[in-house]
Symmetry: D3
Subunit: 69 residues, 6 copies
Amino acid sequence: MKLSARNQLPGKVKAIDVGVVTAEVVIALDGGGELTAVITKKSVENLGLTVGKKVYAVVKSTEVMVAID
Amino acid sequence: MKLSARNQLPGKVKAIDVGVVTAEVVIALDGGGELTAVITKKSVENLGLTVGKKVYAVVKSTEVMVAID
Amino acid sequence: MKLSARNQLPGKVKAIDVGVVTAEVVIALDGGGELTAVITKKSVENLGLTVGKKVYAVVKSTEVMVAID
Amino acid sequence: MKLSARNQLPGKVKAIDVGVVTAEVVIALDGGGELTAVITKKSVENLGLTVGKKVYAVVKSTEVMVAID
Amino acid sequence: MKLSARNQLPGKVKAIDVGVVTAEVVIALDGGGELTAVITKKSVENLGLTVGKKVYAVVKSTEVMVAID
Amino acid sequence: MKLSARNQLPGKVKAIDVGVVTAEVVIALDGGGELTAVITKKSVENLGLTVGKKVYAVVKSTEVMVAID
């Protein structure tokens, strides 16, 4: 599947914190830095996410903001 | 200002493409890779964004998806 | 690529309206009804979208609201 | 109330999974297929959502992505 | 229609800036302050939005961030 | 930090409801009315949010919808 969302950064799962409905997945980016994703617990199960697994953080461009110091 | 959005990746503006209402801002991340943001043209002006300017790409955690190969 | 976004509805592109930065893509769902997507013009080009092409409308669960009459 | 969000697909609640703050609502679309929504537990209560209830899945166009095989 | 999105603030349209695909609508809130919405041009037409019209700014709770000074 | 998100409304925290991963923060706006935010529990901790604390509700313009009666 090829997706319109243009932001796809490779990394590894660093931590997973599972709640009742949602889960927080911390991704250590290959280029350094981290991105935290909040997805459903079921998606964590469907993707078989575990700490250390290679993943992509994916973000739709309209969801990215820009900040300056 | 300190923001609840936990994803704040440093980079430099690589390209700006301005439309009538929105603008596309490509950010070259310091760690490698790019993130594209679609924000309003007025925000580009308010922040004084120009190519080469140091910025942060900011994303709310609920907007980040996870993908696997 | 397998994505955490659980909402992936099959359909065909019914119409594309291209602006300077963004584009509006109307998808006629196989099950009936339509979904309109606003994505970047570059994504329309990257995906080679044309009227009639088979696509999926993809939506992150946190972006879906529920309404009643 | 008439809403700017152009994507409003009719269906029936198929399942509700309630967490502490959020809840997952699976909607079986009248046209076939499903959409999963993550909304607050309070919205589930405010709308009186129960399995079988007729609802609409509502999505803002800027939140819809497009994918191809 | 009753919507799960819990944030519905009353106001009046203060300005509309129409692009090719999207439009920017500035809403002067009844309680003071402004909210800017980026919606499709077609939604502006469907809702018959004009300067001075009474409207509601509607935001899904998962889209609201919190900041401190 | 100065942010591209143009919607920043001042208020005070009225209530916080903490789940396992996410938390719901109700903000009483200075101009009247309320906005509810769903953010991560860790952001509540990072920002030191407590009832009565002065905050801003921040929303990206592409996340704001418009409704009419």
